[in-house]
């Protein structure tokens, strides 16, 4: 618990502040001691907690999956291999269902996205105070455990996907084809002059829809997880408000956590599916 001296807004704010390492305005490098200090660091700062948890979870995921892959045999699969194969099969089915081109990158990309985002989201189910309080014992004052509640993490992945979308669009359709896709539709005419007049209109429409892809991808995941985290924090505040409200809060937390299991899986799945769909669109010639 955040302590009696802390106000509710202080408690919430504390929970929403990343452990930021960066350059102080006075020129020295170090960890920001408050949210305001973290803000002052600007772009040249790094969220140590986000990086730690996301990379840690990524290594956790890759460790078990590569272990299973290394032992993978065509014979009778063991427990871990069975589980991994089930997930791989599930992702493979999704990719086969939505992706019609031929690209060896898409399926592993989808698997990474699904499992990694799921694990990041899963950290949301750890009671909000457990890890930050443990960190406090180690002398770390800020600890935001769920990487997917940090827009940097979600935008990082979404931009990664966006770069692939751009790369494959240009690779498959060529620069001209891609530019044509951006400017010659949805409005087109048989008259060349009218077509030229349509170019700016088309470009605005298509550019917005292109840019909307990574932004919606990132903000959907971020928004869902941030809101979920926020509700967990709000429920946690109830523990400070007496026994009855505290017990009520416990029930609420359990209920929300169970509901959240659905959300975290669904968000990971949506991110994966949209990635596949966007890449499929990048592979399609009009």
């Amino acid at each position: 618990m955040a302590g009696d001296t802390l106000t509710s807004s202080g408690y919430i704010k504390h929970h929403l502040t990343n452990l930021t390492f960066g350059k102080h305005p006075d020129g020295s490098w170090g960890i920001a001691q408050s949210a305001a200090e973290a803000k002052e660091m600007g772009f040249w700062a790094i969220h140590v907690d986000t990086m730690f948890w996301s990379i840690g979870l990524g290594i956790f995921f890759l460790y078990f999956f590569s272990k299973a892959a290394k032992q993978a045999t065509a014979g009778v699969p063991g427990g871990l291999q069975n589980f991994v194969e089930w997930l791989v099969d599930f992702v493979d089915d999704s990719v086969r269902g939505s992706f019609s081109g031929r690209n060896a990158l898409v399926a592993p990309l989808a698997l990474t996205i699904f499992v990694w985002i799921f694990l990041q989201n899963l950290m949301d189910l750890v009671p909000v105070d457990v890890i930050p309080e443990l960190a406090k014992l180690l002398g770390i004052h800020y600890m935001k455990v769920v990487p997917s509640t940090d827009p940097n993490a979600t935008f990082g992945m979404a931009i990664g996907v966006f770069i692939l979308v751009l790369f494959y669009s240009i690779k498959i359709k060529g620069v001209g084809g891609f530019a044509g896709e951006l400017t010659l539709q949805p409005f087109s005419s048989n008259n060349t002059l009218v077509n030229i007049l349509f170019i700016p209109v088309n470009f605005v429409l298509e550019f917005v829809s292109l840019i909307a892809k990574p932004i919606s991808l990132a903000l959907r995941l971020f928004g869902n997880m941030y809101a979920g985290e926020m509700i967990f924090i709000l429920i946690a505040i109830m523990y400070n408000a007496g026994l009855i409200l505290g017990l009520f809060g416990g029930v609420l937390q359990l209920g929300w956590a169970i509901f959240h299991i659905l959300i975290i899986t669904l968000q990971a799945f949506i991110f994966m599916t949209l990635t596949i769909v966007y890449l499929d669109m990048a592979h399609h010639e009009h």
């Binding site: 929403l16 990343n18 930021t20 960066g22 973290a38 803000k39 660091m41 600007g42 772009f43 040249w44 700062a45 790094i46 969220h47 986000t50 990086m51 996301s54 990379i55 990524g58 995921f61 890759l62 999956f65 590569s66 299973a68 892959a69 290394k70 993978a72 045999t73 065509a74 014979g75 991994v84 194969e85 791989v88 099969d89 493979d92 060896a104 990158l105 399926a107 592993p108 990309l109 698997l111 990474t112 990694w116 990487p147 940090d150 827009p151 940097n152 993490a153 935008f155 990082g156 992945m157 931009i159 990664g160």
Partner: protein, 156 residues
């Protein structure tokens, strides 16, 4: 909530993870799955082939059994025929042998009879001579009338 360098860090981590998954997770697992799929398909095909072969073998076994039965019947028939032949042959042989034995016996009997007749003849001759001798002893000596005795014996 600030957008900062973490974005780049996450992007790089994401890229590395995707690369790692592609190289060390997806490829081997898909290979294993493909191999298993193939093995199962092969197994099913082999089972089907085995079943087919079993059916063929059953058919063949039936044929072989049929043939064997026919052969056995033939062998039995042949054996019976041969047995009859052997019996006939033995009958013939026995008849011939019997005839031979009978002929030999007849010959022997005849020989025996001849010999007995000869002996009898000699004995009778001797008896006659003895008788004559006894008669003649009273009249003449045996030596003087030897030629007559032998002529007599020959005549008998």
């Amino acid at each position: 909530m600030n957008i900062n360098l973490t974005l780049i860090g996450q992007l790089l981590a994401f890229a590395v993870f995707v690369w790692f998954t592609m190289k060390f997770v997806w490829t081997p697992i898909m290979a294993a799955l493909e191999t298993r799929k193939k093995e199962i398909a092969d197994g099913l095909a082999a089972a089907e082939r085995g079943q087919h072969e079993q059916e063929l073998a059953k058919e063949r076994a039936k044929d072989v059994l049929h043939e064997a039965k026919a052969q056995a019947a033939e062998i039995v028939a042949q054996a019976q025929k041969r047995a009859a032949e052997i019996i006939d042959e033995s009958k013939d042989t026995a008849r011939v042998e019997g005839e031979r034995i009978i002929t030999a016996a007849h010959a022997e009997i005849e020989q025996e009879a001849n010999r007995a007749r000869e002996q009898l003849r000699e004995k009778i001759g001797l008896l006659a001579v003895t008788g004559a001798e006894k008669i003649l002893r009273k009249e003449i000596g045996t030596d003087a009338h030897q030629d007559i005795v032998s002529a007599l014996a020959k005549e008998i």
